[in-house]
């Protein structure tokens, strides 16, 4: 099987592939490539500057007088010569996009036809002749010369160049390749077309090899090193015509037309190969575009970044919990440290208060009591209660602060998971977590309420004691009052000092107890939170695992499906590229 039929078969299979994938939009492209591949017509266009002998060369090549030839510019229309059993000549005219065809009755005077039609809106002559050279589907296109002052000639030629398959660029042996010729070659032909440089009128040149070398070096220098092997074929149309007339083999040989024919045949092969390459590339490109959305789908399906993120968080949570439940874990150490710090701070404050109360504040209180012993006891009690309340507030705030500092932070909760779009069946009791701080406060303040009672109880004993002690102390105070008040004050102070100190020491002791208790409360609170945390984690983990398993199994099926398609596309591309 040759390359062409191989490629044809692969195109047919690609059609199936494309239809299966519901990509019917790609089918017309594939059909276009099939058409390109199976196009047997090759357009060989002869172009070059004006008066280079293009038409004469075509006539000599076909050995037929078909193109108009004159000493003056004769070709003003594109002329396409193709094979036909029956002779015909038609003109293509009208507006671009709405071209019309009309038969030309009499084509015997081609020069006159070119001249007559030049001023009309004719674009092209289509000529059919029974010429063996054209039988394989080759058409030869004669074109008006470029570079003259008639811009329409340039336009027509430039218009057809992109449509041609092979270009014969004609230059003249009596003139070196000019800048304008090089520019045309470089800008219009070289990069897109297979071409042959034909140096016509070689009979005018003594050293044609030098001419060929000169042309080659100019092309390499101006267009590029990759054009080093572009065929440059000197020919003599004159000698070929001599041969056609006289059949002298020497004329044929010296005309070099056989060589030109050989080069044209070679270039056609190169062209055919190039067509196959172009079709191959085109199909591979089509297959790529068939594959592209599948790739995207795979990518999307394989995209588990959300799960990855959740997994990461879960792992972190897990290690966090593990750390929290360890004995002598950080939080416990920290709690102990903070509590002991708080204790020393509190005790310190209480000590200060005791000294203050015994030495300074008591004086004012005595003054304020105005010798009323009941009132005095009440004031002192009030003062002590105030101290205890202050301490209570201080401790409560501090304990809460400590708790807040060390209570475990939740890394992952249900909300997180829901936000990620993960479907959950389990509700987490969020409220509990939210209100835990309040709970603690209640617990703590309950302690302190008791502490006040304790203090009050302590104080009551001396007052009652005082009352029971009777009037001696009382009387003493009353008596003293009238004498030296300063002396009295000291006596009263002395009378209460012991009780005050006792009460404060009790308070101190109690505070210590409270702190120890608070520590316990906080510890237990945190421990219970850790347990909640752990159970939350377990629940979320379960959800995650279920979800993860579901997605993976779902995707796997889908991805496998797509992958199978992609594989068959890849396989097809491989086959195509191997052709």
């Amino acid at each position: 099987m040759n390359r062409k039929s191989k490629l044809n078969k692969l195109i047919d299979e690609s059609v199936k592939l494309i239809s299966e994938s519901n990509r019917l939009d790609l089918l017309p492209h594939l059909e276009k490539y099939k058409a390109i591949l199976n196009e047997s017509k090759i357009d060989v266009m002869v172009c070059g500057e004006f008066k280079r002998g293009k038409s004469s060369l075509i006539n000599a090549l076909l050995q037929e007088d078909i193109c108009a030839v004159d000493v003056d510019i004769a070709t003003s229309l594109l002329t396409r010569i193709s094979f036909s059993d029956e002779l015909y000549a038609k003109r293509l005219y009208g507006d671009v996009g709405e071209l019309q065809e009309q038969d030309i009755e009499d084509y015997s005077d081609s020069l006159k036809i070119q001249k007559d039609l030049e001023k009309t809106n004719t674009w092209m002559l289509n000529i059919g002749i029974k010429n063996e050279m054209l039988k394989t589907g080759v058409s030869i296109i004669d074109s008006p010369g470029i570079g003259g002052i008639n811009e329409m000639h340039d336009y027509l030629t430039s218009f057809y160049v992109p449509k041609a398959d092979i270009i014969l660029f004609i230059m003249d042996a009596s003139e070196p390749l000019s800048k304008s010729e090089l520019d045309f070659l470089r800008d219009k032909i070289a990069s897109t077309k297979e071409f042959i440089i034909v140096i016509n009128k070689a009979d005018l040149c003594m050293d044609i090899d030098e001419m060929v070398e000169d042309t080659k070096s100019k092309i390499i220098e101006s267009i590029g090193e990759e054009y080093r092997d572009i065929p440059i074929v000197p020919v003599s149309t004159l000698l070929m015509n001599e041969y056609i007339e006289g059949k002298d083999k020497i004329d044929l040989e010296e005309s070099n037309f056989s060589e030109l024919n050989k080069h044209i045949a070679n270039t056609m092969n190169v062209y055919q190969k190039k067509v196959i390459d172009v079709v191959k590339e085109g199909i591979i490109e089509l297959l790529d575009s068939l594959r592209e959305p599948l790739d995207t789908e795979i990518r999307v399906n394989e995209d588990n970044s959300i799960l990855m993120e959740l997994k990461q968080k879960l792992d972190k949570e897990k290690s966090n919990i593990n750390e929290l439940i360890q004995s002598a874990s950080n939080w416990e150490v920290e709690l102990g440290m903070h509590i002991s710090q708080l204790r020393s701070e509190t005790i310190n404050q209480l000590d200060k208060k005791i000294i203050d109360l015994r030495n300074e504040s008591i004086q004012d209180i005595i003054d304020n009591a105005d010798n009323d012993i009941e009132r005095l006891a009440e004031l002192i009690t009030q003062e002590i209660v105030e101290v205890s309340l202050n301490i209570e507030e201080f401790i409560t705030t501090e304990i809460l602060r400590i708790y807040n500092n060390i209570s475990p932070k939740v890394i992952l909760d249900k909300e997180d998971i829901e936000l990620k779009g993960v479907d959950l069946d389990i509700n987490i009791k969020k409220k509990e977590i939210e209100t835990k701080e309040d709970n603690l406060s209640v617990i703590l303040s309950g302690d302190f309420a008791r502490s006040t009672l304790v203090v009050m109880g302590l104080m009551k004993i001396p007052v009652v004691g005082w009352a029971l002690a009777g009037y001696t102390a009382f009387d003493t105070i009353v008596k003293l009052k009238e004498r030296n008040s300063r002396e009295n004050k000291l006596r009263i102070q002395k009378a209460f000092n012991g009780d005050i100190q006792k009460a404060l020491i009790n308070l101190k002791r109690y505070t210590k107890e409270v702190l120890i208790n608070s520590e316990k409360v906080v510890r237990n609170q945190i421990k219970s939170e850790i347990i909640t945390l752990k159970s939350n984690y377990m629940e979320i983990k379960q959800v995650y695992d279920n979800y993860n398993n579901k997605i993976i199994s779902d995707n796997k099926e889908r991805v496998d499906n797509i992958n199978r398609k992609v594989q068959s596309i890849d396989q097809m591309s491989k086959y195509v590229s191997r052709v």
Partner: protein, 504 residues
């Protein structure tokens, strides 16, 4: 001619007066240069595409085989300005930086041509080459490198030169027909050349017509056909007086034909199937014959294959017959006649127009930076130059000439002669313009003008006043204005006579 000379003197003295005592007094040098310019030989530049045989044409014009170097590829690299000088034996090289140096003739070739491109090539503005050749007494010839050369420097060198030196006239060569590139390249010289290119000072040459043979059995005739069609292109008829088909190589060959050539030709005539050999240069040189290869190449290049075909076809081997035949078929005769008729007789007019144009553009350029009082003066000078230029170039004359040269007319031979005369093709004196000899009196002149005017006026009326292309009307108008000129002179003469014979 008389009037022009007088007018230019008047213009110069008027302008000198206008600038006297002003800051513009330095312009005096430019005014006086007009006078120098119009007395020096006419400078003709040979401009054209690559390989259009410009240098060969220069050699043919001078009738010297090796006046300037020639070759098959792009050869001429720098501008060479050939002038007449018996005493000077050195070529002067003018560099871009306005310095110059004298070199020997042997170095000229080295510097002007592609071979051994020297480091000088780029810095040279042009080479001034003295030659003892009668042709150069009338025309100085400027040989230029081809336009559209791949090596851009060649074109640049032509442009560099033309930026500084404006030739009086241009011979424009093209190979197969006029290309857009050539027109574009010429447009690049717009400032100094394209504005200057008028049918008055530009002729075209369809060159290397020898290459048309054997495809065309009569290349000259074929060339004429192409030339005629080209002259129908507006862009050309507006800038070129006419196009002449020409084979510079054959012309040079004819002019330098020698007894040695005849010897080789004689041998050639005995070679069998010579016509067949002439179909290809290579075949010709490689053929077996008693002639050595060097001689074959020499004779082929000298006469071209068409030339050889002509020569070998002649029966009379008299050197003059050979020369004349080749010269005629080269198209050179028609060309040179036209050059002399067109440029020669008109050289004064062409040079004057050019000089005036140069001063005019300088004056116009100065206007931009001038103060108010100067602008007034410059505008006045510009106006006067403009007026004089209009007097000198009569566009109607050029139109008429083109018509009769194109052959697109129904005039009789006598009528054509009338037109040639009145348009100054035989000289610009009043007598010559009406076809009278120098002995004719003023009355003869007036009578002739009158009768010719009547004749052409009648033709004019017959055609119809408002008809397009009413050439007789143009002719009758020319006679009318000539009549006026004569009467003015006559009046001046009478006053001169009365002055001369007046009693003191």
């Amino acid at each position: 001619m008389f009037l022009h000379k007088k007018s230019i003197d008047v213009l110069i003295s008027e302008c000198t007066l206008l600038i006297k005592g002003t800051s513009l007094e330095y312009l005096n040098d430019d005014f006086n240069k007009i006078k120098d310019d119009i007395t020096s030989p006419m400078k003709i530049a040979i401009v054209g595409e690559i390989c259009s045989a410009k240098s060969t044409l220069v050699n043919a014009l001078l009738g010297e085989e090796d006046a300037v170097r020639t070759g098959v590829k792009e050869e001429t690299f720098n501008v060479s300005w050939l002038y007449y000088d018996e005493s000077c034996k050195k070529v002067t090289v003018y560099y871009d930086d306005d310095t110059s140096e004298e070199i020997s003739f042997s170095l000229w070739d080295y510097m002007a041509n592609r071979k051994d491109q020297s480091r000088y090539a780029i810095d040279i503005n042009y080479l001034k080459v003295p030659k003892v050749n009668e042709v150069l007494k009338q025309f100085e010839i400027i040989d230029t490198p081809g336009l559209d050369a791949i090596n851009n420097i060649d074109s640049q060198n032509t442009r560099k030169f033309l930026d500084k030196h404006v030739p009086d006239a241009i011979v424009l060569l093209f190979n197969r027909g006029i290309s857009k590139i050539l027109l574009d390249q010429l447009a690049l010289y717009q400032k100094n050349i394209f504005n200057q290119m008028t049918p008055l000072n530009t002729v075209g040459v369809l060159t290397k017509i020898d290459n048309l043979w054997p495809g065309e059995s009569n290349p000259l005739e074929a060339g004429n056909r192409v030339a005629k069609r080209l002259m129908n292109e507006d862009i050309l008829s507006q800038t070129i007086f006419d196009i002449y088909p020409l084979s510079p190589a054959m012309a040079l060959g004819a002019k330098t034909i020698s007894s040695k050539d005849i010897e080789i030709l004689t041998k050639l005539s005995k070679v069998d199937g010579i016509e067949r050999l002439l179909r290809s240069e290579k075949r010709f040189v490689k053929s077996d014959s008693s002639i050595c290869d060097a001689d074959k190449i020499y004779i082929y290049n000298k006469f071209t294959r068409y030339g050889l075909h002509l020569l070998l076809g002649l029966l009379d081997w008299n050197i003059d017959t050979l020369r004349n035949n080749i010269l005629f078929n080269s198209g050179f005769e028609t060309f040179i006649k036209s050059i002399y008729a067109h440029f020669g007789k008109r050289s004064y007019q062409i040079k004057l127009i050019k000089s005036l144009y140069m001063v005019k553009s300088k004056v116009n350029g100065l206007k931009n930076d001038a103060c108010d009082s100067e602008v007034g003066v410059l505008r006045e000078i510009d106006r006067r130059i403009q007026r004089l230029m209009k007097d000198i170039v009569d566009e109607d004359e050029i139109e008429l000439l083109r018509v009769i040269y194109s052959g697109m007319h129904n005039f009789t031979i006598d009528e054509v002669e009338d037109i040639r005369h009145i348009c100054g093709e035989y000289g610009s004196s009043i007598g010559t313009r009406i076809g009278l000899g120098i002995e004719s009196t003023v009355d003869d002149i007036l009578d002739t003008i009158k009768s010719k005017y009547m004749y052409w006026n009648e033709l004019d009326i017959r055609i119809g006043r408002f008809q397009e292309n009413n050439y007789p009307r143009i002719v009758s108008k020319l006679y009318m204005s000539l009549n006026k000129e004569v009467i003015i002179i006559q009046e001046n003469m009478e006053s001169l006579n009365s002055y001369l014979y007046k009693d003191i």
